[in-house]
């Protein structure tokens, strides 16, 4: 019997995630002894080399932390620096930023649903393999992804590391006529997103419902992307600039990593599942209707259903992008002036995988004196490990191969971005050069 033995479930290099990581789970006498999500992604020291850069540079520089969600980095950086300088970008410029961000949500969610996660549910190694039997679905996913990228290209100049974002707004704003072709494509993308939700809702979901504390931005007026306060399912309700008082990184026994906790409580989950459960009421009528159609309602605690939640957010992001285009009035200026001053500011936005927090201290010369960045995957890592522990123990009767594969799927529930999370690991500097 496999369950009696001491076993090791090992994935040396996780596939279909962004960045490089692995997983080791060791069991002893039918109990899980160790769970470790390992990160091998080399450290890149962004917070260090941001020091001494001009206050206008972090949006372009921090975009390079992640090729999958550069807009999230650009937006959190802009909000933090504008906050330090005492400026709020509102009105049509804020709406244009939100439209750009919708593009990133669409691109990233379509990528994750179709190319990274769905192959787990249907038993394929990759989307290319899956396309042999499910070509129309894979093509639909690629077209959805393309629609997101077209928003990014139209507003940002290019899909990866857009060039048109600056502190204070944009370098150039589009004419309404330039946005019109996007609307046409988004209408068919929205239909494809609805079909996506129906498709993924038909997958089989393991029976697994941990008691999470969900954390997301919350707003009374909108499904938050870059608005509102931080809230949780256990009653947390704080301003973004209180983040570091409540969220801490702690050393955990038997792990090399630092784990994010809510002070005095424990691990928490950020990302689509948290957003959906905390902000369902702010979804568009169509996104709510699709949720009801596919029998998805808050609270949904099963992380394996995050693929359905992503599909509902795809519907929402297409819908919201269409609304923003329809209501678009070209701003008088592409950006508002932001003068540097000696101050500290922070910003938090909803990256596709969850909350992304930036803080900058700017000095009297307008240079960055200190930077802090807390990406969503860093915050979810403790929760991913807790999920694996809770998921594996009742399933030790499964074969090692099957259980390992299901653990990989459980990790992918979080759409982990290990490129982002690297500065979560501690390290040793060896002089080998």
């Amino acid at each position: 019997m496999p369950s009696a033995a001491n076993r090791t479930l090992r994935v040396p290099a996780l596939a279909r995630v962004e960045g490089e990581g692995g997983m080791i789970i060791r069991t002893h006498n039918g109990r899980v002894r160790d769970v470790e999500l390992r990160i091998f992604e080399p450290p890149r020291f962004f917070e260090a080399f941001l020091r001494g850069r001009r206050y206008t540079e972090p949006p372009d520089i921090t975009a390079r932390i992640c090729g999958i969600c550069p807009v999230a980095y650009q937006m959190s950086a802009c909000l933090a620096i504008e906050n330090a300088c005492g400026i709020t970008v509102a009105g049509p410029l804020h709406d244009l930023r939100r439209l750009l961000y919708c593009g990133e949500w669409i691109e990233s969610h379509a990528l994750h649903i179709y190319l990274l996660h769905a192959p787990d549910y249907l038993g394929y190694q990759s989307a290319v393999d899956m396309a042999r039997d499910h070509r129309p679905e894979v093509e639909r996913g690629l077209q959805l992804k393309k629609a997101g990228n077209e928003i990014l290209t139209t507003l940002g100049g290019r899909a990866i590391h857009p060039v048109n974002v600056r502190v204070g707004g944009f370098y150039r704003v589009p004419t309404p006529a330039e946005l019109e072709p996007l609307a046409e494509r988004l209408r068919s993308a929205r239909d494809a997103a609805v079909e996506t939700a129906r498709w993924v809702a038909g997958f089989d979901f393991p029976d697994f419902e941990p008691a999470y504390e969900f954390v997301a931005l919350r707003s009374a007026t909108t499904y938050p992307i870059m608005e509102g306060r931080l809230g949780s399912s256990l009653g947390l309700d704080i301003a973004v600039d209180e983040f570091e008082e409540y969220f801490v990184e702690e050393h955990v026994a038997r792990s090399n990593a630092l784990h994010a906790h809510i002070r005095g409580r424990g691990s928490y989950l950020t990302g689509p599942l948290a957003r959906f459960n905390l902000n369902f009421a702010q979804l568009s009528p169509l996104a709510k209707e699709v949720s009801r159609d596919v029998k998805l309602a808050p609270p949904t605690p099963n992380p394996f259903k995050s693929i359905v939640v992503r599909a509902v957010e795809l519907v929402y992001a297409c819908d919201e992008a269409l609304r923003l285009i329809a209501e678009y009035r070209m701003p008088d200026t592409p950006s508002i002036p932001v003068e540097a001053r000696a101050a500290t500011g922070c910003g938090c936005t909803e990256a596709p995988r969850g909350i992304l927090y930036h803080r900058y201290r700017i000095d009297e010369d307008g240079l960055v004196a200190e930077a802090r960045i807390v990406p969503p995957t860093s915050q979810n890592q403790a929760q991913i490990e807790a999920d694996l522990r809770a998921f594996v123990e009742p399933r030790l009767d499964l074969s090692t191969a099957l259980l390992t594969r299901q653990c990989e799927q459980a990790i992918r529930n979080y759409d982990p971005c290990i490129s982002c999370a690297t500065h979560f690991v501690s390290l040793e500097v060896r002089e080998t050069d």
Binding site: P43, F45, R51, G67, D129, K145, E408, S426, E428, T432
Partner: protein, 257 residues
Amino acid sequence: MARRRPKLAVWKFASCDGCQLTLLDCEDELLAIAGAVEIASFPEASRAQVAGPYDLSLVEGSITTPDDLERIQAVRKSSKYLVAIGACATSGGIQALRNFASVAEFAAAVYAHPGYLATLERSTPIAAHVPVDFELRGCPIDKGQLVELLSAFLIGRRPNVPTYSVCLECKRRLNVCVLVASDMPCLGPVTQAGCGALCPASGRGCYGCFGPADTTNTRALANRLNEIGMARPDVVRAFRTFNAGAEAFREESERDA
């Protein structure tokens, strides 16, 4: 008998994943590419791992750890044709900013505790360690250039990737020169083309993400930037971004002005 499809592998070193994502961003071409080559190893896209040797390896990222020093040798040995993709792989990337500072100080600024990851003092491009058959520039690479590279590889010709400066793309696009007309700092005159002059078209100066063009006069540009009112520390910062480790940009940033 059907011809064997060439085996493609995609490798990652220190990077943001954006350049390999460019392959998945070929939404209209991806399934055709997957039909023309065997995607033998591409962990970001597939669990399947087909053993080498590989006909074509795309290598993203820079070398920054002791393990990666060894891994790049193994990649080279298993690859017939090795292409470095993106600013990290061709110049060391943004993380090469450590090359101008002390990595121990950098580490102390970010990490509170010692642990198991080791890092090198410098971030270096792939070509500093193994022979590279071709380089695609850019932070990130351009999708059109990637498709051109793959097509050229399949046909067996050299990729048509220009090495002249962004200025030519600006002229072709009928952009008004931001440097001449608006005294806006622009690295276009010394930066390799390939992006399509995106930044000047968006009303900002080029920030050099494709690295130095074939023959550059960075000193003349630095002097011009100084004349339009840019202080030397800002000129240094302009040359020290995503291709800070590329020789022409590094030399200019280290010159006593």
